[in-house]
Amino acid sequence: MTTPLTTSPFTDQERSGADRLADLWFPGTARSPRMTELPDYVPLLGRGLAANDELASAFREIAVLASQAPEVTVETVATWPQDVVEGAFMLLLCTYYMSRDVRTAIGYPGQDRVPVANADPDQLVTDELLAPVIARGATYVPTPGRDR
């Protein structure tokens, strides 16, 4: 299910539509790379498509529409079936942030093992922080007929 693909997982038509969607939705910024320029763009997309059949078929449907449109803009996409567009966007969104280059650019290390025993002091509760809560006392309503 998660084997990276080295060959294109698309028909030529789907690929050209995919590129246009990637350029529209992930055009790159001063910090983040453009999706179609990622060195692992095609294998990542293959991996994304293999992970979720339903979103993959939504993506393929929208990619075909994108390949056929004279131009792919926000306005063009707004005329396509919105449920399917959202599925296609979800697939591309998750796939884009799978890229190591993108994660590095935005300073996101990815989910990983960070043992609790290594927690920094600024991740821990302190007596000082809790003191006002304790000072205010109990908040619960006791069971009727029983003492607090």
Binding site: M1, T2, L24, F26, P27, G28, T29, R31, S32, G48, A50, A51, N52, E54, L55, V74, A78, V85, F89, M90, L91, L93, C94, T95, Y96, Y97, M98, R103, A105, I106, G107, Y108, P109, G110, Q111, R113, V114, P115, V116, A119, D122, Q123, L124, V125, L129, L130, P132, V133, I134, R136, G137, A138, T139, Y140, V141, P142, T143, P144, R146, R148
Partner: protein
Amino acid sequence: MSNSASARHQAPDDLDALVIGAGPSGVVAARVMAESGYRVRVLEQGDWPNVADYPSTKLERELIQAGPWNPNPNVRRGPSDYPVNDSDSDIHTFMFNGVGGSTVMFGAEWPRMIPSDFRVKSLDGVAGDWPLTYEDLQPYYEMIDEMLGVSGLGGNTAYPPGAAPPQPALPIGRIGRIAARGMNKLGYQWWPGTHAILSQADGSRPACSRWATCVAGCPEGAKSSFDVSMWPAALAAGVQLTTGARVREITVSQQGLATGATWIDRDGAEHHTSAPLVVVCANGVGTPRLLQLSTSSRFPDGLANSSGYVGHNLMMHPTATVLGCYEDDLQSWLGPIGQPIWSMQFAETDTTRGFRRGSKWTIAGIPGPAELIQRIYSLPLSERSGMTGQEFAERFTGRAFEWVAQIEDLPEFDNTVTLDPDLVDSDGIPAPKLRYKMSEESARALDWHIDRLTEVHLESGAVFTHRVDYMPEVGWHLLGTARCGDDPATSVVNGYGQSHDVPNLYIFDGSVFATSSAVNPTSTIAAFALRGAEHLVENAAEQRIPL
């Protein structure tokens, strides 16, 4: 359904008890009975979960979670699952069908109900009182905490005094500290989270490594998913577990006692297991479904249903969140994902707010940029995509977290689980149909809490907030459909989970909840099961069983 008269002619299975469902309630009951010398067999429609299948550590985690590992069985559609017709329900059910039950996917937030939750009728004049009190359950809460290795900090001001959790609390993270400062400014109660997650290694199970992917399956085994935290002890005590066994019907004798269950294996073959006691632990949807499937001339409206309450009063905890984005680096991809800090400030009734009962608040981190963008789903696509979306992720990844309000849902008789006339599972067994409408009062409560949560974020320094008014996709707490009570005319089981109608039939899962509380239910489900099973064993001499 036939009442399997033939069951009486089958050879007995040499068991003392049959348990249906291998989730928390099922395994707790089975373990207690087996440790007391009972010969127990558990039938579970699912399989043992396999850590290698968990999306948690995979790059495409979010995509797998949106499909083959989705908590909604209608999306996941695995061989262990049954479909749920939720077309007439404001909230869709979440569950995992397999050994460990839904805890395989749960967030392991481990709060207890508060004393007033057991006395809603007496205090607020609505719903019903439970036939037991907080004080009755407290020793069982504490025993379960010990068995699992629950982590937390003692002395929570929202609760009566008692034993501290056996393990130290998990780190509250930078998100916990910034949220706590906002709460302190407003003078609100909060506390470091109590979790069914190890903060220190215990036997073969390691401590939490803060993946924040708890709901995608804990890759470490630190989370007390009941397959890893309770099943090994149950098996060691001699419990027999049969997986891939989907129960179709609980069979009864002519005297109206349960005799066992008819079930279907993965090859479609039908079996019957006889036992003098039957314990149903199939959750708030699976249990009423099974009772309704088990009709007979004696129980034409479903087993244990002389009250007409089976399948009614479904409660599901409407939930809303407010995303807050900050300028500080909060490392908000660090776990635990649920309740690093939480609050019961607004859990009790104050009718000046315009609704009764209250809500539990928790904070939750955002594991990554894709999940961050998904949190602003209600904005137009043009604001979530293109350079705008990318710049949002650049600016706020690791700098955002949610405040979550989980509303106490009062029981409404017309919120139901019934059998769908058309939809069936892969074995041809009728599927459950939900009818669930969120009440006006719950809707008012959600609005009120969302406004307050936004204020807390702003007080903590958030530079951007975004509210998600209510989420249809979070029916993870399935409660109330076989409620407990003292009066057989208005309840299905007593305070020990014993059916009023069928004295050798017990129910221990979340269907027994008379009211829903605002807190996550599993510590109460497990404590109720422990207390009920202990009572059952201690009163064996009085137990009526089929001859």
